[in-house]
Amino acid sequence: MTTEPAQAPLDNNLLTQIDALFDLLAEHDESQQLEQLEALADRFPSEAVAAVRRLLRGLERHGEFFEQPAAQRVNLDRPYTTGELLGRWRVEGELGRGGQAIALAVSRQEGGFEQQAVLKMPLSSPPSPDAVRRMLRERQLLASLKHPGLPSMIDGGVLDDGAPYLVIERISGQPIDEYADTQQLSLRDRVALLRKVANIVAYAHAQLVLHRDIKPANILIDGDGRVVLLDFGVAQSLHANATATNVGYTLAFAAPEQVRGERSSAATDVYGLAALACRLLGGEGPFPGMQASAQVRAVLEYTPQLPVGLDRDLAAILQRAMRKEPQARYASVAEFDAELERWQLHLPVLAHAGGKRYRIGKWLRRWRLAVGVAAILMTITAAALWQRVQAQQEAANALAVKNFVLRVFTGANRFTTGREVSALELAQRGFYEVDSISNPRARFELYTTLAAVFGRNQPQRYAVMASEKRMALMDRIGLSRNEQLHVTLDHLNFLWWAERLAEVHSQIDLVQSRYANELLNDSLARLQLEELQINLAMGEQRYAQLRKINTRAFLLAQQRTDQSGGSRSSETYHHTNRLFAAWREFQYRELFAQLPDLLGTLQRYATANGNSGWAAGNAAVLLHGLRPTSETERVSARAIAWCHGFFDKNSSYCDWLHDIQLVHLLHAANWTQAEELYVRRLAINTRYPEESIVELQPIYYAGAVISLARGDLSAAADRAEHAHALAITVCGAESHCTRAARAALLQVAGTPQAHAELRTLAKVQTDNEDPQSWRSWLWLAQNAIAQTDFPAARADLGKAGDWLNARGAPLQGDMIALYRQLELAAPIAPVYEVRSMLPQIDQILAEAEKLQQDKARLAPQPDGTESQP
């Protein structure tokens, strides 16, 4: 047994014993040493034997590591000395080194003058076979590329140790990013510069060579402004049999497929160019300020960070060019370049992609269409509006913010009364002043106010701009997640109003991923989100589905215990949505069943609900159109006045009233006034066509109906064609609006064959319960009369009349005369009791007007002092 004090001397002894064991073992062949150890075991202490056994077993495992000298396991960097000759080239210094290659500045005397160049060679000496292969490939590639934007190869050879080297033109210049900054290039100049790089890359692609490492350091601008793209060291042949994927690149500018180690393509360089553009147009790479590991993740998963405040077309181009999936990017550098050129020429760019918007863009380019406002926006929610107005009031109460508003908006009293100087104009002036305020909270509030002021005014992009500023600030001012969610949802609304569909989609994705918890707990938010999705679905105008989603959202909102906020606005929103859906489908019976609910809701919340006047206004105009009397006219006029006063006449909120009026004028067969209104509606939105494409479609259809009725066939053909093209663009090839527009086209064509086709189409429309199917039957009846085929005319007219009558809709103005002409009994039109609703609307409007006056009282007096509310 061993005792503590004996431990230390024994250890020394143990070491001696171990040494002795090794002495003996060294006599034998290495393969037999373990065996020999056991033979010696009884002559030595067991601890010593055990220790040596352990050591020998360890050596058994790792013996191989010691078989070759250590230096064979390490690549040694190539030494060089300044002044040394490599081939005919004298080394001047080192320019840089990568993992496998080193670049030296060299020169030689040639015909009496000194030629400067870059000598590139493998870094390791002796060179690894891989490094040799790369160097030879680069040499081969450079020899095949002859372009002023690429350095030319001057010389090449083999060094003493067998390493190939190549000598290329030395460009003395600045890296492109430094150059752009020191020259203080404008945005347009920078884009022009970017295009030069793109052209070089496109040339290389045409020679079937990819670059795959496009980054600022690889692009030099020399004294003459020549742009040169360096370093095809990682370039890879585009030839189909080149399968190598394992190639170097710079992570900060690398495309996702490169990080994943997948095959590169032309789209990889498209990505690289866009990443370069990020740096060039905004000062930073796509994922700035990240550690390498975080960058790997960012490249694979995150949306690249585009420069703040970048022009939105350019932003869209870069977004498209940096999509994660290579096939979603521009297919070639040439396409990318063409987009930049379009931008330079102020032409619409294709980048606002994502299905419909992309098609709309193409369509726009083809026809150079002037577009109008449309009824599709009828489902813009009352809830969103209420929120907006509330936001306005909050801002007005924030003294600091308000003072600023007053200072910036000269004659701010007019801002509120909104007459001589438009609110929009003032807000636009104010917009550029906000950034001068240092307090981010105040800036946020101001942008909130501005977004509300821009609201539904054209161009919508101002509201989006203000909203984008809010989004950028919200992280900095400590908003709760729920508040952030609402800011984001507001942003969604603004984007939708501006018809930036691609961005709407990406924002919806963002909301769903980032605010998943808040969405579950906040049914109002959910409601709003769904409302937007409905709006998007409206592209296909599926009313049945709209109603279903609407009801589901409403029920969700009802579950909220907080009755004061969410359910109030959602109730209004719910009823308004249903009302408009019914109206669009000519479901008048349902519409009238719905009206009391809406009015009741509005009445209950009118004092607190900013949009009550707007919803009531729409109801009033609707009623007037259905039963025009002096009393309905009075209420309707009051509603219109309120809307114009509250929102500004040019606000798109008021377009609603015009849309309803237009439909009524069509129904009343009041073609002259309808034509006037149509022309006005079209003109309003021609100024900002890119924001109004979705809205235009039903307007053009209405225009086609009007000119057909007026017998102006050439105008009818033009409008029907527009309506049809837009319908396909917005709603797809098979939708009720597409069929309606096609029916109009067939009716314009007027040939017997077209009429036969129209008959087939009318049947399809009826089967699908298309809202405009009755009009096809009406046209067929008119055609039959022209052919004096009265039985057919009677049958067709009957179908049109029955269709409308079944829904409780009144017959169209001209139809009554047709029934009489064909000696056919007209169906009895339902009579709706309108009178009882008018006082209710009056009352709601009175509350809304009071709200408006309160707001006016908050406004400053001309001398700048404030009156007390």
Binding site: L15, D19, F22, D23, L25, A26, E27, E30, Q33, V52, L55, L56, G58, L59, R61, H62, G63, F65, F66, Q68, P69, A70, A71, Q72, R73, V74, N75, L76, D77, P79, G98, G99, Q100, S125, P126, P127, S128, D130, D161, G162, V234, N246, V247, G248, Y249, T250, L251, A252, Q258, V259, G261, A292
Partner: protein, 183 residues
């Protein structure tokens, strides 16, 4: 009287070998490269040339300084080779750490080398600890594993039998293998 070099050698080895180390550096590099080349080209190790080189250098010194210590001279040379290689690995590490650019593709073929470099750094650290108890074992490792001398050359240089070298080499490797188990 002129200061004699051999005294310098002895003194330098005992105290601060910096100057001498510098004079040995080119030979050390040549040695490392010759070893690497032997592996790359699948040719017989071309270390003989460099051994001759080092030898010649020593003989030049010895011709004027009779007390020049050949054993210490070669031991120092082997140490310089070891330090040179380890410094090279460290500087590559530092360059990699500092480099903002990461080249994953280049990493792939280098990954094996990375692991070997880790092991060599571990062995270097272990040798530094071992020097206290097993000075000669460390010398043998430096001369054989780092400087690439054959057992017979080492025996001759150190003035011991080849069997002793073989024995030391066995024990040294067995002790160092423990370090490799850790990775």
């Amino acid at each position: 009287m002129k200061q004699g070099f051999p005294n310098e050698v002895s003194k330098a080895i005992a105290e601060s070998p910096d100057d001498l180390t510098r004079t040995l550096l080119p030979a050390a590099y040549a040695r490392l490269r010759a070893i690497a080349a032997g592996q790359r080209r699948r040719m017989p190790v071309a270390t003989l040339n460099t051994t001759a080189l080092v030898n010649e250098a020593f003989l030049r010194i010895a011709s004027t300084h009779e007390d020049a210590d050949r054993e210490r001279y070669f031991a120092l040379f082997a140490r310089v080779v070891r330090n040179t290689l380890i410094d090279h690995i460290r500087s590559r590490r530092a360059r990699k750490r500092d480099a903002p650019i990461v080249s994953l593709a280049e990493d792939a073929p280098i990954a094996f080398e990375e692991r070997d470099m880790d092991r060599l750094l571990a062995i270097d650290a272990a040798l530094t600890t071992m020097r206290v108890e097993h000075t000669r074992l460390v010398q043998v490792v430096e001369m054989r594993f780092f400087a690439g001398f054959e057992n017979q050359e080492i025996a001759e240089l150190l003035g011991v039998t080849e069997k002793t070298v073989r024995r030391d080499w066995l024990q040294a490797r067995a002790l160092l293998a423990v370090v490799l188990d850790d990775d």
